[in-house]
Symmetry: C2
Subunit: 457 residues, 2 copies
């Protein structure tokens, strides 16, 4: 369920915390759609996307590297995220902390995040500071000083991050093992932060090899959104990033497909820190990158109708009408390079037990498989998607995120722009078809988070 790990420097834009897929129509719904984004490529292979937005004197500057945890070699889990930490250390031109301090001085904010498929760095600053940001970012693309003095203490920071986020959280531990069970073949079975015993072994040699392989302009995407013109960005990009030499040519990114799943699987974690039980149930389904014939769009709308918020079937039925659940919903992470997952979840309330909640969730899924969805709720779901774009559009970083994530997972600028039309084209029959095809109750992976003492699940 974890999309990515954020550096502990401050909150990410809400749009990211909520997952990217739902926000994808944002841009193309913006005024001036069709020509809103300019894109071009520098001579050294760096892709550039510019999204002018003159409502406020602010600019969001992001660099996306086409490498995430799923690109790690066996035994080296966590290196992508660990490297994100190292990017905040000193370079041959700037000492550690200087970049952070510069952003703070000008009243900007910055962050970085690592996911299965990409790693991104961003700053939001006044337009006058854009060149400085580019210059710092281009510098750390190649000039990091990676000594043992730098590596050792930062590895301890990451280990502590894992302890506090995962080991101290029974729900996170369960999520990790559910993912490791769900994906029999795909690298998404490995947590983005890495396995503890492998993070402990990461060293300078690993870091340098990773840096030299993946951190180069021909493996990066620059996204600039805000109060700036494409021509200006192009000139600045050539002056800064354009000076960085190409890195090695990389082979195509491999995301092995899942074999057929023929079994029903369960993963149960009992822990004394759990007071309220809960469950999730997941299936491997196509992503926007692997899907054909609008299946990903249909899965997005199925997720919205089944469990996408207070108006969803699961919430209305289990929480509002039956009153047996404190929460119930569904999730679909479509913006992935390989096949992805569709998830439902719930937790009991009052006298209800977990088994009852799971049965009620299963019943709602079976109802869609059998009877489909109504034309009215499909239209409303599409409307909710469109409305959500109004929120996303108000956030410059969201716009930059949508383009960056799409390009970093194998999509194109055109994909972003055509997305709303593809969503609007989804029919009720397609929703029913993907539910029947993918949400087979006999071939699911269920996770149960339970208190230490045996209770009915």
């Amino acid at each position: 369920m974890i999309l990515g790990f954020l550096r502990a420097k401050g909150p990410l834009p809400a749009v990211l915390a909520l997952g990217l897929a739902w926000a994808a129509p944002a841009l193309a719904e913006a005024p001036g759609k069709g020509g809103v984004a300019s894109s071009f490529t520098l001579d050294n292979g760096m892709q550039v996307v510019v999204i002018p937005d003159h409502r406020a004197p602010v600019v969001t500057h992001m660099v996306w590297y086409k490498v995430g945890s799923a690109d790690e070699v066996p035994g080296k889990s966590g290196i992508a995220h660990f490297f994100e930490h190292l990017m905040f250390k000193g370079t041959t031109n700037h000492k550690s902390g200087e970049f952070d301090q510069k952003v703070a001085e000008i009243g900007g904010n910055e962050n970085a995040f690592t996911t299965y498929d990409y790693t991104a760095y961003h700053q939001t600053v006044p337009p006058s500071a854009l060149e400085t940001m580019m210059s710092f970012e281009a510098d750390r693309m190649r000039n990091l000083v990676l000594t043992d003095d730098v590596i050792g203490p930062e590895r301890d920071v990451v280990l502590e991050e894992r302890r506090s986020r995962i080991e101290n959280s029974p729900g996170s531990l369960l999520d990790e093992e559910v993912d490791a069970t769900l994906y029999q073949n795909e690298p998404y079975r490995t947590p983005v932060i890495g396995w503890m015993h492998e993070i402990e072994q990461l060293n300078r040699t690993d870091a340098i090899a990773f840096y030299n392989q993946y951190y180069a302009p021909n493996n990066a995407i620059l996204v600039v959104a805000g109060d700036v013109e494409p021509e200006t960005v192009k000139a600045l990009a050539e002056k800064t990033y354009g000076k960085v030499a190409r890195g090695p040519d990389l082979p195509p990114r491999v995301r092995p497909m899942e074999p057929t799943h023929d079994t029903k699987r369960t993963v149960e974690l009992r822990d004394e820190r759990v007071t309220v039980p809960s469950f999730s149930k997941a299936w491997v389904v196509p992503s926007y990158q692997t899907a054909k014939d609008g299946e990903a769009e249909a899965l997005d709308l199925l997720s919205e109708i089944l469990g996408g918020g207070t108006l969803s079937r699961l919430n209305q039925s289990l929480v509002v009408e039956q009153g047996i659940a404190s929460s119930a919903g569904a999730g679909f992470e479509g913006m992935m390079l390989g096949e992805t997952s569709f998830t439902v979840y719930g937790a009991p309330r009052g006298e209800a037990d977990l088994q009852q909640v799971e049965a009620a969730v299963d019943a709602e899924i079976r109802r869609i498989i059998k009877d489909g969805v109504t034309a009215e709720e499909l239209e409303k779901a599409k409307d909710r998607f469109v409305r959500s774009t109004i929120f996303a559009r108000d956030n410059q970083a969201s716009m930059a995120n949508i383009y960056g994530a799409t390009l970093a997972t194998g999509g194109t600028v055109a994909d972003v722009e055509q997305w709303p039309d593809r969503i609007r084209a989804v029919t009720a029959d397609q929703i029913k078809a993907v539910a029947a095809k993918y949400l087979n109750p006999d071939h699911s992976v269920a996770g149960y988070l339970l208190p230490a003492k045996p209770v009915e699940k």
Copy 2:
């Protein structure tokens, strides 16, 4: 549970079909122990082990490559086993089938097998034919003709093999998903034969890359057992294999360790072809290669005492005394390069149901964890191990197998020879300790093979 896939050319020696670990004392218990095996290395890096055995005018000739399915790159599952098939095709010096025919003409037999950690080829022939065997084997180490004409039809053979062995067998399908669930990080999660959709994509480029990387004298072990002297083998080996050029230096073989398992997991397969339900339960445990302080030896004896045959606790309790099970036992595959698995299993009989059998198996495990094993049954278990060697010793191929498998999984000739003493040194406390440490009932992976109609498990 699957150790390896055999070529469909005839049965393997029983010792292999039963797993190798139990047979490992065989050699060192043979007459003349201590000096029984000679070993040396050719100039091109090929290891050689010779085990003279003059009881009959027969010689077993084996070549072991230190590559198995667990060395495959993501997305290319099945290439190691597929390549084993290709090794029976034509070379620049001999047309396809010529080697087979030669073995048949002289009344010998031959086979080959692929496992997670190694691939081996062997022939049993009169000593006079040894040079011819070496010559053919050295030839196909480098001179295979790998054209699309060869690759395509053989891939169809392998696909058909997978269909008949796996897709047509609910128990095998379940075993695959149990393994894919059990191993969260290790490559043993992928079946040796490969995933169907990936075998379908294997091509000439993959085959040639695999051949050039792994099939070379410096990645191979020659084992010759039988009516022959080390000096003779050495001379013949230099004359044949000695002429083959070294291949590339290979990096150390990586078998990532498992993270801590904090959950209880189940995998359930329902299929109309299942008439009698059954279950298995597995844990990741150390192998001989990864274990410390005699834990692997203790696990071997624990497996023997708990479920190693008719005299084992599980059989005596569930099958003989309670009469609730048609079968019940335990298994441990110690001879692996990475961490391995310990398994228990059972099937109900008469009025008993699967749940009852599982509870009775769990009870026997808990009894050992709580009370340990008796000195008497430990001695008897050690004796059974020794007796089993008498059978193994009678089979030349078994002897060759033990050395080959040990060396191919990172062990040494000394490991083989010292093994019986290490087994004899295991104490009852050690057995209890490994049971308590590794067979945690709350952190296991259980597989249930069930009939199509819902029944109580």
